[in-house]
Structure formats: structure tokens, C-alpha cells
Symmetry: C2
């Protein structure tokens, strides 16, 4: 029997909004949010209709005390019917923990800037590719039906604060290497907030040309220079259907100096629904989830325009329009 | 001989960024900026390469003390070689003052929401169209070569905080009436910040279909719900070549409750130049102009991401790229 607390998270949508706040957001704030609050946050977003949430990261608690107890958070998130429970892992060891915890989607970042890779993950490209192969082998050893989806995330794809622009050939070579190592999918990540609509369209086209359209569905964009939603629009034009964002714009990348600011989930959902693209998410319920962040991360700035401005008078989200038409 | 203080404001560009801060921005702040500071602001933006500036509005000083002395500001701006000096007028009386002062572009707003029109301009649609005809006649009476460009601005085109959505047919009828009254151009204005990329593309297409492409070149978008630059991208896709914005995002519309926030010129110029579209504007010099606002409008929030984040490492603006290629 369906759990009445959650909407049907399997009904048709047009664009998948993948919430990364409980990982990318919490990782980048100093305050430590209690585990129970992290669970409440995830439940509240799922209750608003969010279908995929990156709930944490399997890194040593010594390095990121904010994400301690991710296994417990994953276990909680797995009780929510229809929710895809995603996690970030820095290496094969983290991936084994993620698999043991029951994560359904595992993302391994590979910074296409090797300088950034060494500073962020303390690994060369070759070492990260080797970790990817080890993760893929661990997943392949699982029974069919229990294998998490495995994504390689191409960090600093639109340029690096340490190296500047990264050559296309290097990005594509690394993407191909990740796919050859056994990733199901690769995604571009604008870690430094350097992307613009033209570079987004161009690089998606190149990447899809290299590894195939099916292997490139999502993108992780930042709003560092205010171009976040314009870049999303470019990504949609290029055919992508999954967009990462963070409630209240929490998070960013602490290893790229000057770069911060995820796309705000509330504003993203508003844009998509206004454009007639169904997200399955209720904007009002989503905005209400900010109160959990405000309560447990006191003093932390929450971004976003929609929560202040509200929806336009007479606004009809895409979901409502399509339901009426049906 | 060319004035060495200003770049060549007549060299080729791809997109015209029309700065509205000295009118739309100042109109919506409580503080009164001294006339000399307004002149310095305009000069500094022109020195950064801005080619069109709405320098003020011809309204009674009793109503808008912030814009008192616009004639003097126009006279100053007219001394800058190559700058297009634009003003807003609420009626024919204001237009006569604008013509006498030497304005080169005159914009008359017509709110497509009649409720908003009555509250904002205290005039029915019919009365505004009559004012437009009177302005056009006054312009036509001038010698050829001295006639300012005359634009009708369709306020609340993407919806009104008082009436909600406005029927397409009503918008197009009013646009046609403005053109029939003698406007050279009509533009859509998202007074309430209700636009989204789909509605922007759609309405530009409808409007160009109704009055012709040549009569629809520019757009005035707000960033009330964070979609400002995404909407600009949609407008560019639809073929427009002129975009209004305000330094520091100053301004908005005080008669539409809850609606505020122009597009930030600094972020807009960064997006365009990053996309390879020449604006003729130097981002560094432009961002430096914020100090004039900070000094003379103490406590007034200045928006924008680019001034804090800076340009990407190794950033090449479109202008530099094309100069090298040439």
C-alpha cells in the first residue's frame, strides 16, 4: 500500500531535479547538521515530490564531520518509496561502503584538471580511472537488480580556477576512460562556475558525440557568476533531462577558491514548471523545507528568489496543466 | 578629434546593452543622488563602453524628486561622443521636454494591464495611445536628422501582479495601436518578473509576427524570480539584439507589489562576452562604476555575482577574441 506521506514519485515527469544539498550543501558549511535533521530534510523534500537526492558522501568522518553517519542516512532514505538514493564517493573504498549501505546511485568525481584532482582527491587521473574500474567490478559482482547506477562526474569541465581552460581532447579522453572503466554515465560539472550557455551547449554536444547520448543525461552547474539558470536552459536545449541543484543554493566547491553557489532548487523548479516542464515537485512544499535548514544551520545564508517573490498571480505549474489536459 | 576619455562607441558590436540604472534604478530608491553624481555615473559607464543609457525621466519633480534635473543630465550625456541618450516619458508633455532637452530616444510605457496602467500612469489604454500619437506628431514636426527614436514599451507583458496573465490578443492589439500611432519600435517589458524562457520566446514571436521584426529589437526583463539571464538567453534565441539592464541590479517597479530587481548589467555583459557576443563593454571598468553607486546611495543593496566572483582565469571577452581574429 502506498505511503500517504509521499506523492507518487514514479508518475511521469519531463525533467529530473536531483537534489544535492544534503551532500554538496552540508559538505561546504561549517556547522554540523544533526543526523535526524538530515533525515527530516530528505523526507520533507521527497514529500514535496523530489525524486532523486544525493544524501551524503562516503568519506572519512575525520575529513568531513558534516557527513558522518551517511550510511544511517542512506538507510532512512531507502524507506521512502520511489526515491532514488544517490551518494558521492571519492574512491573504491567509499563505493564499497555505499553499496553496503544500499545506495542506488554512486557518483565518483574525476576532476579533468589534474592539478585540481591532486588537490581535491589527492589522486592523478590514472589513479581515479583505476578506482572507477574497481568500483565497476564491485558493482558487477552484485546480483542483477541490486546494482547501483554508477556515474563519473567530470569536475572543472568548464575550466579550473588553478589551470584555467581544460582542452576538449583531455575532457573527452577522460570521459571515454571512465566509460571504458565501467561507468554507466558521465556528467559535466561546472565546479568553478565558469560555464556559459555557449560552452554548455558545445561541451554537451562534444561529450555526447564521444560517449553516446544515453551516457550523458545530467549536468551539475553552479551559480557562481549568476549564469546558473541560463546554463540550465542551454543544457535543456542540448537535450539533457537531469539537473543537479541545492535547496537554498547551499554549497559549492571549497577547493576552488572564490567558487561557491549551487543552483537553487526552488528557482530551478519554478523555471522548469513555468516553462511547462513537469518536475513532479510542489513549489510551495519545497520552499517550506527551507525552515529545516534555517533551524539547523543558523547564520548560514540561504539563496533563491522564488521563496521571497512567490509564484506569479494565477501561476499554473506544468504538472497542474498536464493533469487538466489528461 | 576623438575624446580620449571614451572608447569608440561606434565600433561593431553584436548585442546592445542598454543601461537603465540612472532612470529605472534611481526612480526606485529612496535616496536622491546628486545631479553631479548622476552625470559622473553616466560618463563612467560610457567610458567603460556602454553605448546607450536611459539617463532619466521627464516627470514632475514633485512625483519623483530622484529624477529632478533630467534635462541637465541629458545635456551632459549628449556631450559624450557616440552615446545614445535615452529617456522615459509618461506622456506627451514629458516628451516635449525630452525633445527640448535633446534626448535621442524616447520611451513611452503602456501597461498592457489596464488596471496597472490606471494605477501607474493614471491613464486608460486609449489615453496612452492618444499620448503616443501626440508624441509622434511632435517628433514628425522636427527636421529630419533631429528626430528622436520613439519606442512604446509594453509593461506587464508577461503578466501583472494585479490582473495576472494578460491575453495575447490584448497585447498584440495594443502593440499594433502603438505602431499605428507612430512608434518606431515596441518592446516587451517584464515589469512583474513573471516571464520564463518559454513565454519570452513565444511572445517575441507573436509580437514580431504582428508588427514586424524590425519593430521589435529590444526587451526589458527583470530578475525578480532569478530567471533574468535565462530569459535574456531566450530573447537572444528569438533574435533580439538589445537588452535593458541596470548597474548593480538597481531598480525594478515600485507599483507592482513584491516585484523588484532589474537584470544586473555586470552579469549580463559577462554572459554575453563569455558567449562570444561583443558588447563593446569592458567588464572591469564597468564593475568599477559600482563605487559611484555605493558612495552616493549608502545602504542601498547592489546585486550581481560577477563583481564578487571576478572573471574566470584566462577569460577572453568576445571583443578581444574577435579583435585577434581580425
Amino acid at each position: 500500500m502506498a505511503d500517504p506521506s509521499f506523492p507518487d514519485l514514479t508518475s511521469p515527469i519531463d525533467i529530473l531535479v536531483s537534489e544535492v544539498g544534503p551532500r554538496d550543501g552540508l559538505q561546504n558549511v561549517k556547522a554540523v547538521m544533526p543526523i535526524e535533521a538530515r533525515k527530516a530534510w530528505i523526507s520533507a523534500e521527497a514529500a514535496a515530490g523530489v525524486r532523486e537526492i544525493e544524501v551524503g558522501s562516503f568519506v572519512p568522518a575525520k575529513l568531513l564531520p558534516q557527513l558522518e553517519g551517511t550510511a544511517e542516512v542512506v538507510a532512512h532514505a531507502r524507506t521512502i518509496p520511489g526515491l532514488t538514493v544517490a551518494v558521492l564517493v571519492p574512491n573504491a573504498r567509499g563505493a564499497r561502503d555505499a553499496i553496503a549501505a544500499g545506495a542506488q546511485k554512486i557518483t565518483l568525481p574525476l576532476s579533468v584538471s589534474e592539478t585540481h584532482s591532486l588537490r581535491n582527491l589527492r589522486r592523478t587521473h590514472e589513479q581515479v580511472i583505476a578506482e572507477a574500474a574497481e568500483i565497476a567490478a564491485a558493482i558487477a559482482a552484485l546480483p542483477a537488480g541490486e546494482r547501483p547506477h554508477f556515474e563519473g562526474s567530470l569536475s572543472t569541465a568548464f575550466g579550473c580556477t588553478l589551470e584555467g581552460a581544460i582542452p576538449d581532447a583531455q575532457i573527452l579522453r577522460l570521459a571515454e576512460a571512465l566509460m571504458a572503466a565501467g561507468c554507466d554515465e558521465v556528467g559535466l560539472a561546472d565546479t568553478s562556475g565558469y560555464a556559459d550557455p555557449v560552452s554548455v551547449r558545445r561541451l554537451i554536444g562534444l561529450l555526447r558525440g564521444a560517449v553516446g547520448e544515453a551516457a550523458v543525461q545530467g549536468i551539475h552547474l553552479h551559480n557562481t557568476r549568476g549564469l546558473g539558470l541560463a546554463n540550465v536552459l542551454a543544457a535543456l536545449d542540448a537535450g539533457l533531462t537531469t539537473v543537479d541543484s541545492s535547496l537554498g543554493g547551499l554549497g559549492g566547491c571549497p577547493f576552488a577558491p572564490g567558487a561557491s553557489g549551487n543552483i537553487v532548487t526552488e528557482d530551478l523548479v519554478f523555471m522548469l514548471e513555468a516553462m511547462g516542464l513537469r518536475t513532479g515537485i510542489d513549489i510551495g512544499r519545497l520552499s517550506a523545507v527551507r525552515s529545516i535548514l534555517a533551524q539547523h544551520l543558523p547564520g548560514e545564508p540561504l539563496y533563491g528568489f522564488l521563496p521571497d517573490a512567490g509564484v506569479p498571480l494565477g501561476f499554473q505549474p506544468a504538472g497542474a496543466r498536464k493533469t487538466e489536459a489528461a
